[in-house]
């Protein structure tokens, strides 16, 4: 393995770390806003389950990133570096302004931008981007509908219960499980994107064969990086997600996390890189909708939607720009 490959792997793991820092706070937003866990404990809880995800899920999302977005042979070390610069740059900008955008879509957009700068529009695989674009819309809708359904079912099952304190204690406990499930889904989805990038790099440099699966050291290092990123977490985003979109009770937190976790399990199984941020936002809106539409603070939800719309083009442009200096050497 050459020094340049080692350095790019380090940058990719740095992106994964920052992804945890930027995104994984979503895993703990509901559990913190309902005061089931202190922020410190919630972060440790989420980081542990981010890491543990490698034991449960396969690497289908990694395969999508590696094979379904850009035509084989287009990826070179400089394309991958420019893509990572674009994705990290976009994450930094949106983190700085406190927008809960998607690192997944930043990476997808940035890899596309770098590939187009290198080999033109024909470098992109349309069907891969189509699948991801459709699930940009569908993943929050699935989260919303599942969260609303779970919430209404819980109300329907327990509406005659009179011991509210005891019931609340139960929901608080169950929120620990739902938060863990969501962190598992998050780890599975987001760590795999980095695995996909590292796999592409290893293939481009002839270190592993073209049809190789993700090596175990890549799987472990990606999950470690995202777990550590979560541990050093982003508190601005916790604040935006947990309390600004709608006010949550333990039952609402549990429903939102369970719905988002189910959505992420499905997409990880289907190999679709989706945004954990989109999914949990949709689920929180679904919970708020059980009360009334005005319980949802649509101003913040709208801000989030704008962030979704601009992420892929924004990261695309940043990566395209980042590739320009490399053109002088190719």
């Amino acid at each position: 393995m050459t020094l340049s490959v080692v350095l790019i792997v380090a940058v990719a793991l740095g992106f994964d770390f920052f992804n945890g820092f930027h995104d994984a706070a979503n895993s703990i937003a509901t559990v913190v806003s309902t005061r089931v866990l202190s922020p410190r404990l919630a972060v440790a809880w989420a980081a542990f389950f981010n890491f543990a995800a490698f034991l449960i899920f396969g690497t289908k999302v990694a395969a999508t990133i590696a094979e379904d977005l850009v035509k084989p042979g287009v990826f070179t070390n400089s394309v991958i570096v420019a893509g990572l610069i674009g994705a990290i740059g976009w994450d930094v900008v949106t983190w700085f302004v406190g927008l809960p955008t998607s690192s997944s879509h930043a990476l997808v957009g940035a890899m596309g931008g770098a590939a187009v700068a290198h080999a033109g529009w024909s470098a992109l695989i349309k069907s891969g981007y189509q699948k991801i674009a459709v699930f940009i819309v569908l993943s929050p809708i699935i989260g919303l509908l599942l969260a609303f359904t779970i919430m209404v079912s819980v109300y329907w099952i327990f509406h005659r219960h009179r011991k509210v304190e005891r019931l609340n204690r139960g929901f608080r406990r169950s929120q620990l499980v739902s938060a863990a499930a969501f962190s598992l889904g998050h780890g599975a989805n987001d760590a795999q994107k980095t695995m996909g990038v590292i796999l592409v790099l290893l293939i481009a440099n002839g270190i592993v064969p073209a049809n190789s699966s993700v090596p175990l050291w890549v799987v472990l290092s990606a999950h470690t990086a995202i777990g550590l990123g979560t541990l050093f977490g982003g508190w601005r985003i916790v604040h935006t997600m947990g309390s600004k979109i709608t006010k949550l009770q333990p039952v609402g937190g549990m429903s939102a996390e369970a719905a988002a976790a189910a959505t992420l399990f499905f997409t990880a199984h289907a190999g679709i890189p989706v945004s954990t941020t989109h999914t949990i936002t949709g689920a929180i809106v679904g919970v708020g909708t059980t009360q009334r539409l005005s319980a949802v603070r649509w101003g913040v939800a709208r801000q989030v939607v704008w962030a979704w719309i601009v992420t892929i083009p924004g990261a695309f442009v940043l990566a395209w720009l980042a590739f320009q200096p490399f053109k002088a050497f190719t």
């Binding site: 459709v134 699930f135 819309v137 809708i141 509908l145 609303f148 359904t149 909708t289």
Partner: protein, 67 residues
């Protein structure tokens, strides 16, 4: 009769799912259809709830001595 905003919200959600059906890869179209079906289901139930609530309010208005 006035339909509340929540049934319309769910109806709009169902329409969004159906609108992107043509661009969804065939193997995932069941997700669009499932989501649209669930959204319509909730839109119908919430409409019934709204209508029943409005009737209850009206009958209370006409018979104020009712419990």
């Amino acid at each position: 009769m006035r339909i509340g905003r929540r049934p319309l919200f769910f109806l709009a959600t169902a329409l969004v799912c159906l609108a992107i059906l043509p661009v969804t890869p065939p193997e995932f179209r069941w997700v669009n259809l499932g989501c649209a079906g669930l959204a319509v289901f909730w839109a119908v139930l919430l409409t019934i709830e709204d209508v029943a609530g409005a009737r209850r309010g009206q009958s209370r208005h006409e018979h104020p001595d009712l419990p």
